[in-house]
Assembly symmetry: C2
Homo-oligomer: 518 residues x 2
């Protein structure tokens, strides 16, 4: 971990925030260092019971592994009890404690390097990294409504994220570019992240060769030797809940880990469908699945960057539809944070979840409930921090704007409260005494510019001013904002040779295979 | 405290929630008993420094008391150093520790009785009571926009609150009824609370005789003897920050306390204007002011129900306007919760604050940030739980609907997570094993109806269904909802003799004085 240097920051990061405010985008905070404690809602006894249940699930029910013989062998050699159910499907049972032992080689904190070193992120410990939403087939905006995402939308969202000082990472499949063949879109996606962002990003995981291509493109930019020693790309891998790991996932994990790149291990748990609908059971299952998946990375290359993860969702009693941004999953996420700290591993958890189909009051109420659980629970990597609508089916241009602004507010929230003589401000009150406004005190003048988070999208003006200037709601203001941001966007510089090498790699790969659309 | 009986409730209150869901409004939970711990963000050392600063403010700067000789004498007899600045203005300085000693007689928890005993609330300890917003001169809805509030609006909001199972208290000045003379509107307001709600409420504080009238009307309903022994009404008293208590406030506090009724002691702190703009300083000042105000109640009648309170707000750097629902005040509210517990007193704090002028995304994002600080910080009485918009200048019909629904979600949130064999649900996973959906397991069937909070206003249906049925946003749905609720509203029963006595009291009072409009 000797390569990790904490970025220089003013206490509370307010200096940097002011600079970001004034448009100096390059000087954003590369990630947040928490200034507030985590919100620990469960007792040690309850946590121990959840862990014991996870261990029992792993030991007595086990995981079903499909289609990946090398992973089966890794598990077996490590001491798991492997029973073949067919020549391509195995039940894998783990003696209690075995996975915890294996996961001890996972680094508690690691750096994901960005092509701009000032944008490197520390993942783990007290550090918090915000990345945009991931995986929506649709996009939506107020003008054109909902439609399938395209590679142009994809690039737009990469640009919008890069332009926000309140995100720290470019994310991965920010929307599905459905106008590009399925077997080639990973090339365009990785290129967009590398070209239009200078932050860290996620590569493809939909097939082992696409994972390999993603890492190869990172090598073009970072150099093969650097990549072997440093994390420059990560893959986000979903288990097939309940309790299944498929072959594409297992081999993808091995591909990233073998290259010493990061992997995120996510059970996507919809209570009542692929998990119990009681929260404690959902958390226990999520812990079991994520540990089993993380172990593939550690068994492939001990010490490879590996992120424990959880995604909890509830369902509507009336329709059976999944619901997002609801209270029970928020409580589950807080508990998951405690469990991750007991494992001493970085955590991906929650995000700006919403079921609403518009960037309206419902959307932002749901988002805030979910996002609060991420930051209070101690999540280190928060995917889905911006754009999430429609139960993850749609990436919204306006919600991306509203969410990134909320992420800014959460920077100030996580700075917490300074308690020193200056902040306690006895002199500020003593200067003029009872009944006198503090506008003109030395203390007020000294702190005026930096005391409070300053939203760029909320309207805090008096009603009359707001009304005279059009009386727009926040979604309408966000609509104006993303268009302005895209119109003014300038890609971060990239040397021509690197850009050409990336384009050449893509051209060769695309020419080598016919288009596939499924 | 022998009269306090914890209401019977199923674990987690889910039985009652289901009943409320099915329309049986009478069986709502009378208040919330927290199932999750508080979120303690400050160390003991930091808390001690804030308390020491509050003590120093009180000892070295002191409070300016205006226009109330009896309070001046109460303070002096109790040991404060009182210096006359004129014949009606005194500077009052409190030796360190003096106020803490006086406040030891304040009950840590007390019951406010409602005219329906099933709606009695416990205030203090682990109990949380939600009440609607308070004090807006304007009202707004999507149809008619913003206009001055009337007594009809006032009655409407009392009815909307009564109809919600997720509020526990009728509040006070739910909007200013500006069409009723200033010196008579307290009569109509108190009558509306007593007639259209059967929950606890707040009386008038704008003049000592109006406070007395409010209490007298409560005596009509509850009986004079009962009122002398039990809290049936409370007054919400604001200090005049910084560090002033005016005569109307001081005499009003004495009036409520002498009658053994409850009083809330609220510094309304706008950072940079009437308080330092650093959070720690704002919290220290708020603690000092609220303690000095609370002491008036305890010195008047030791043991009178008394609530410590805080209201923190930031300001816009660009306009100097106050801003609500922002991160710094939320952090301050969490700290205030810790300080109240160290004083062993009930706390009123935060609420569904928003600066937005519409029930839009901004409004609900700001509300949720603020409301989370109330419930996580351990506030016991949360005024402003529903309807707050426009920086408290407007009470919104639609936001009242959205907020009360959010309050329902917060019931589920505060229930926390059961961790027992049933909730851990090992058998649910074992029943069908890996790869099998849990829809049909015994565990799912058993928990299906009660596992998740079920919003009545959020739209959780698939996009296509939502779109076919009109594609409304949450504010539009809320607009439909409040109209339906008012159309279907039935006032809780009241015997004719009591109603007549109240009307007679009002008529006599109104006839005895000319209308005043300021």
């Amino acid at each position: 971990m000797a390569d990790i240097v904490e970025p220089k920051r003013a206490r509370g990061g307010r200096t940097q925030r002011r600079e970001a405010r004034s448009g100096s985008q390059a000087i954003h905070r590369p990630y947040i260092v928490r200034g507030i404690p985590t919100y620990d809602i469960l007792s040690d006894e309850s946590l121990t019971r959840i862990e014991a249940t996870a261990d029992r699930i792993l030991a007595e029910i086990g995981i079903e592994l499909r289609d990946d013989i090398p992973t089966m062998e890794l598990y077996r050699k490590a001491g798991a009890e492997v029973t073949a159910q067919s020549d391509r499907v195995w039940r894998v049972k783990f003696p209690p404690g075995m996975l915890r032992e294996i996961l001890k080689t996972a680094p508690p904190v690691f750096t994901q390097h960005a092509r701009n070193p000032a944008a490197n992120v520390l993942i783990g410990g007290k550090n918090v990294v915000f990345a945009p939403s991931y995986g929506s087939p649709f996009v939506m905006d107020l003008d054109k409504g909902r439609r399938y995402g395209t590679i142009e939308d994809f690039r737009n969202f990469v640009k919008l994220s890069q332009a926000s000082p309140w995100l720290h990472h470019s994310g991965g499949t920010v929307c599905e570019p459905t106008d590009v063949p399925v077997n080639k879109r990973h090339l365009d996606m990785v290129y967009a992240h590398l070209r239009y962002s200078d932050r860290g990003f996620l590569g493809s995981i939909t097939a082992p060769e696409r994972a390999a291509d993603s890492i190869e493109m990172a090598r073009v930019v970072f150099g093969a030797e650097f990549v072997d020693q440093n994390c420059v790309i990560m893959g986000n891998f979903n288990t097939t809940s309940p309790l299944v790991i498929d072959g594409v996932t297992a081999s993808g994990i091995r591909t990233y880990a073998a290259a010493n790149q990061g992997s995120i291990h996510l059970p996507f748990l919809l209570g009542g469908a692929v998990a119990p609908l009681t929260i404690a059971g959902m958390v226990a299952q999520g812990l079991a699945e994520s540990m089993a998946s993380c172990a593939i990375a550690q068994l492939t290359r001990p010490g490879a960057p590996t992120i424990l993860a959880s995604f909890f969702s509830s369902m509507s009693l009336r329709t059976g539809s999944p619901t997002f941004g609801t209270p029970e999953p928020a409580i589950g996420s807080l508990a998951m944070g405690q469990l991750a700290r007991r494992l001493n591993m970085p955590l991906r958890c929650a995000g700006n979840f919403a079921t609403s189909k518009l960037p309206d009051g419902q959307a932002m109420q749901q988002s805030m409930m979910s996002m609060m659980s991420a930051i209070q629970g101690g999540a280190n990597y928060v995917l889905h921090s911006a754009g999430f609508l429609d139960g993850l089916l749609s990436m919204s241009y306006e919600k991306h704007v509203l969410d990134t602004d909320m992420c800014g507010a959460l920077h100030a929230y996580m700075d917490g409260m300074a308690v020193d003589d200056d902040a306690l401000a006895f002199e500020a009150l003593a200067e003029l005494g009872p009944g006198q406004h503090l506008f003109s005190t030395q203390h007020t003048l000294r702190h005026y510019e930096t005391a409070y988070w300053d939203s760029e999208i909320n309207d805090d003006r008096p009603f009359e001013t707001w009304s005279e200037q059009g009386g727009l709601d926040s979604a309408q203001r966000a609509n104006q904002r993303w268009k302005k941001t895209l119109a003014e966007f300038e890609a971060p510089p990239m040397d021509v040779a690197t850009d050409d090498a990336l384009k050449d790699f893509m051209a060769r790969k695309k020419a080598a295979m016919p288009d596939m659309w499924y």
